[in-house]
Symmetry: D3
Subunit: 317 residues, 6 copies
């Protein structure tokens, strides 16, 4: 029920199909490869963040992108991608927001298990909810996390509840995942407390600083992480915190810092993740378009998503 044929050389907004509630119900989901949805929640951020505006901003920026990836000679339009709109949020009760996110992922997995969910956050607190939702739908699966981030996100939930500083710890402490099934790539600088590093070590979280990753090659580092995860888990969930990028590349990520990743490194890392058959879901978080400069970060966010989809097409087997 795609209403009309794609134009030749479509732009991304002409290719991705936006569904409203009605059309979502009548869709033939068997043909859908990827399901996008927005999670416009950032009032759970420790510092002020307008990442709630990101899903809208990404959608607006789609029109600046072709579906054709010239580097890889791949046309994304061979994938069928639908956009379900945003998960409903509450203004003053963050726990309702979080419940809604869990349910949204659970429902999606139950009703449309063959599509790859891609969530447009929101802040990083949503990742804990999205993975919990997955777990609810697939209680038998062991889930691993590939995290690209400047931060561990291992803060204690006792301090301020399930903020954007806590998702990985939240998942570990709730028994949703094992610490050893987390691979964080991109940490650097003076932006993680020592105690979080100690917690990571105790919990068995794997991490590779950006400096270490560059010595080996960021791409190879990602590949190794995926290979190791593959041996232990059923599903790998990819989470991209845009603040992993250098502040010059991502002025619109509230916590981006000097010394971070370059955008081409991130595109390649995400594409490689997309290639791996076990990577079954992805999110992109902590992008605040209100602070952006010349839309550079928003454009980079779209590019990250499209790089993931490129990899997905390149997937073998």
């Amino acid at each position: 029920n795609r209403p009309q044929p794609l134009p030749t050389d479509p732009k991304v907004h002409e290719w991705i199909e936006s569904l409203d509630e009605e059309s979502a119900k009548t869709l033939d989901w068997a043909n859908v490869d990827v399901t996008l949805f927005g999670v416009p929640l950032s009032r759970s951020s420790i510092s002020a963040s307008g990442a709630s505006e990101n899903p809208h901003a990404l959608r607006q920026a789609w029109k600046g992108f072709s579906t054709y990836n010239l580097d890889e000679e791949i046309d994304l339009s061979s994938l069928r991608v639908v956009d379900l709109g945003d998960v409903r949020q509450h203004v003053t009760d963050i726990s309702i927001c979080h419940q809604n996110i869990i349910q949204a992922m659970e429902a999606m997995r139950n009703h449309h298990p063959y599509t790859t969910p891609v969530a447009m956050g929101g802040d990083h607190s949503i990742t804990a909810m999205l993975v919990k939702g997955w777990k609810k739908a697939h209680p038998e699966e062991r889930i691993g996390i590939l995290q690209l981030d400047t931060h561990f996100d291992l803060r204690s939930l006792e301090d301020h509840g399930p903020t954007n500083g806590t998702p990985i710890r939240n998942l570990i402490e709730s028994g949703t995942i094992h610490g050893e099934d987390v691979y964080n790539i991109g940490l650097h600088g003076f932006f993680n407390a020592r105690s979080l590093k100690e917690y990571a070590d105790q919990a068995g979280v794997h991490y590779v600083t950006l400096k270490q990753a560059r010595k080996k090659g960021v791409d190879k580092t990602v590949q190794e992480a995926l290979s190791q995860l593959k041996q232990r888990v059923d599903t790998i969930y990819l989470t991209v915190d845009m603040d992993v990028l250098d502040i010059g590349a991502a002025p619109g990520a509230p916590a981006s810092t000097p010394g971070g990743m370059q955008s081409d490194e991130l595109f390649e890392a995400v594409r490689i993740a997309g290639q791996h058959p076990s990577v079954k879901a992805m999110d992109l978080v902590c992008l605040d378009p209100l602070r952006d400069v010349r839309e550079a970060t928003v454009k980079t966010g779209v590019h990250v998503m499209l790089s993931f989809l490129t990899g997905r097409i390149q997937r073998k087997g």
Copy 2:
């Protein structure tokens, strides 16, 4: 226990005394005229807001202001003003934040009833809490509200809970105040739903649009509102939503619009309110320094506070 004498010609940051918890306990409160405190909560805003950063920004901007008001030939340093720091907030439980704010005002009124509290918000949701705190400490008092705002703030709490769109309705529906004891001055344009106007009419809320106020004179309009309130209530609470200002004057107020108040009109309105003996508390809300241009809105926020204190000195009787 002011540690040392003021310098001649003090700047505002040299005059206002910052207290930590320890020094607050040992202070001789009998000499304190005004108590400032920050309420860094804006995750309760309907739209993304960094108004949580405002208390810090106002304090940083104090050093650009003398204590001497040349227009009125009044030196603010004759008042003793202390800054208690910020009311503690929670990151993911907004109801805890709101409880803390209620308790802070209640405690302040119980322990230091002779000082005038001035709250640096935060978003407008805090006003409901501050007035509830006052009511808890003074259950016998009838409280009126003088609100300077582009909006009614009469949205239903059933929609999204106690957001920044609801404080006045919150106060009316909780029985804290009577609708007829609210005077809103500054409404204009296309920024209030028709149903809110109808609610206002039903609840007896008084309001004067900016256009009407200018015909009579904003200053005279304020004076008349105060006079009418005075006949019915014991305490008038002044709440200044910075978005009452024109967007050119207040680019850092997330919801400021074209067609709003000019800054000198607001300074005068607030000074007149400060002169009235029944005006016993004030707040300033919805100023997001992250969106400001050349700190214009932050400087205007400081000027509003100092204009209120000028009026307070001019108070007769």
Copy 3:
């Protein structure tokens, strides 16, 4: 064929109906009061301008406005307003663009003569085309112009063709209008060559500088202009060049200057024009959202349009 009932308290984007080509054909035009359309042409500007982006920017900003005008206690949703989308433009042949604009207005008048057209420019060159299109559809009508502008727009077409500096002269020299049927309000400062003023005098163009208008009252000046025009013409066309506003109020108008009109003066002028039964069409030009600061100018542009519609509802007879 409005697909579903309006929500209570609609926002402007929920109220204005966007038509595609198909739905425009099947619409029952008898019920349509106002027809919006975009004219995204600014490559005809003397100086670099991104006013072509304005129609999109205005539409994006609609969601920040209620349909209810509190100042006038009028709900715009009693009008039926449709948005026809943009007149098709050519990238490298400006004369084709101009022809398209003429034809668009002509067709609209021929097919849907009972709706009021409101054009979202684009630069000021489009006004000549829109009025010519009107004239083609209504050759028997005498058309007057109420122009709110910092400039005469009386430059010679021999210099650079039909640029944004020429529309009024274009209309006079093409015999579309008489010079004496032009009323320009808002001129000020050092932004018009002396020879243009002399041309205006020779052609009998009426003009009132902002300084003169303020002495009498901008609102009264507009009313008098309308009354005088009414005695001579059948149709008054209102054209609003956003650079009539002060540069502080309209940073996004490429040619705005210090010393211009304040936004509330403009809102009132346009509302009064909207009230007049002879004012049968309107455009808004020279707003470049790429240069805007905090979207102030775009929001002001929306407010101007809504003020005109407010006046239209207030129209008597």
Copy 4:
């Protein structure tokens, strides 16, 4: 020796003649009405300022202005105005800079006494030097100052030497002028220490706050100041500190504040001053183009200068 006739309808940069050292020597100064020169010194500012970049910025902005003042129906090109370039400054010895400025004005008065000097600052410290230079050339004259400023500029030179906070006191204490011959219009808010007001009172400095001036009319206030000065002095020197403007109108004036003058009030004040035969020199100071927003302040600065020249043409007798 004007090289070629002016074009019809010249822009300001086509009209003002730029001289180099050689052409300045051979000029027939008898025909010169006004002499512009830049004073690119701002390292003498108390706070960081890039006002040294202002002369260049003003010259660049000339091309956006016609010579024709439509409000007054006056063409500035009837005046002959030359631009002598900048007074040479030293980077690390501010006293040399100040000496150069004194000498520049003295030389100009000695060699070309019939032209009106207009200085483009620079910060306000230069005013003391320019007036001293005038006094050196005209020791017999009594000089009065018309100052449009948010500040008294009466700080003690003992604190930090001849900064931009001191020029008026510098002139009084050096015996160059009498305190009673200073008229300051535009003071407002919390931006002057009480002791400076007391100094002003003791020294007999006349001042009218912006609030007082608006009650009477800024234009009438200026006229009265000029009339009173005229009775006592031979020469009135007009000094315009751009921070007298509201921060929304002059974001590029480092010390502009909310609550200041509007640009049209300033244009009118300066034009009236220009009309007075005793006003024989003018400067414009404290405009930092590096902080400007959309060049609004720079354009306003040009407009101020042109308003003064308009008044000069309107001068009677």
Copy 5:
């Protein structure tokens, strides 16, 4: 007829000689190595662009550059470089603009064949005209193109005429060049339609994506392209589209994207091109100073030009 000797250690604006029409006629062109000229046309851009302002912006920025290249120990002042000013443009007839550009290059080649032309665009549509002008003057020459760009610029002229998306196709289809004589280096990402890649393949256009170029080394890639071109063509024309740069490096290039070239890579690529004896002309396009951040892109544009001139001095034979 250079009027006076260069100062020691000249800045670029002191070294490059600006000619007006008169001085251009009397110049001894035999000594001129390089001729700069501006092509201020960007109304032919698909998206809104202020690249017409670039020639002026580059000239203003010259004063921030020394003539001495420390990396290469080369002083540019050994070259004689003149600036002819801008090619005259029309405001509303783009075909006249394009004809003027063709004629300008043709005339320059006919009258001053020994100087290297360097054009400061303008948008990329001008490249087709400049190369056509060269071809008219040198009909016997085979011309190759070295293009540094994020885009193919192979769009069909049937869509919108000779826009900035078409210059290479324009040259191929007009028979000015052969498809195989085009080398495009720097393509990347999702910014070219698949059909354009197919056209490139059919036309035999050579291209190396940025990713491929980096594997081999951007410098070596450029050298190989030049060597291959050298074997087939008489003249190589270098065209630099500033949007080949990463959006962080070139915020002022309207179509710059994340994942683009770094500025030092571009400087080196252009310097190497400058060294090659067959590279006889250059242009720099698609730089919009109105969108720049801190003048970074403008400074980069100047650096690109100076890097080319450095290479030219290093040219052997």
Copy 6:
């Protein structure tokens, strides 16, 4: 006399102890490892600079940094670091400023010789003063300079006195250091006059351009410079001019250019310098927070300081 124990996981502002004059006197300096102080002088800059605001801006930004360096697994809080506040400056007498800076360093070395001074500038003129102060306290020492800069800073003092373009020449010509004991790393582009390069060669100044340094590795280049210096001098003074960074990485350094160093290269260079036992002092200059974009440069400045301290802890022997 550290008033209270550090919190677990301190932020930088909780770790660095701010002293006032009183507490500085009673401190037990034997335990102090590093002494920070601000040098808020930038009126000695050739071009307008607000680097005087940098010490305050760095201190404000500390709260965004943890004391834990994850890359190196080092916790800075094992060092005791105090902040002495700012060296007193004069507004209009730059020579007094410079004398104060000399005396401040001399006094620090005489009274607290076991701490490492780290100066937060200010512009580069202060480096000459700081090194002179060191020399006064340690006349017997031979001092070497490791300079990371885009510029030589070898301009003649005869031109404009001790500006920010002269510190290295100042030190050489005053006999404070030998030319051969200067190592400048990071020079690039067109930003140094040829005569300065010749002066450097004559004076024996060592320099490695950024291009050369990258060929060998910036880190290895720094190590070699340190090793060579170590053989000749007693003390190595590290001076970091933030304009060595690329303009994309350091928009807030007034003289940053395209083609400069990346932030991670600078962090590593400075860390390596910090490791060397002969590096006994450091400064960071030419960072103007007023021109910064999203605080990127200020955050980078803090990171540079912390990288140096990381190295210091890693120091062996």
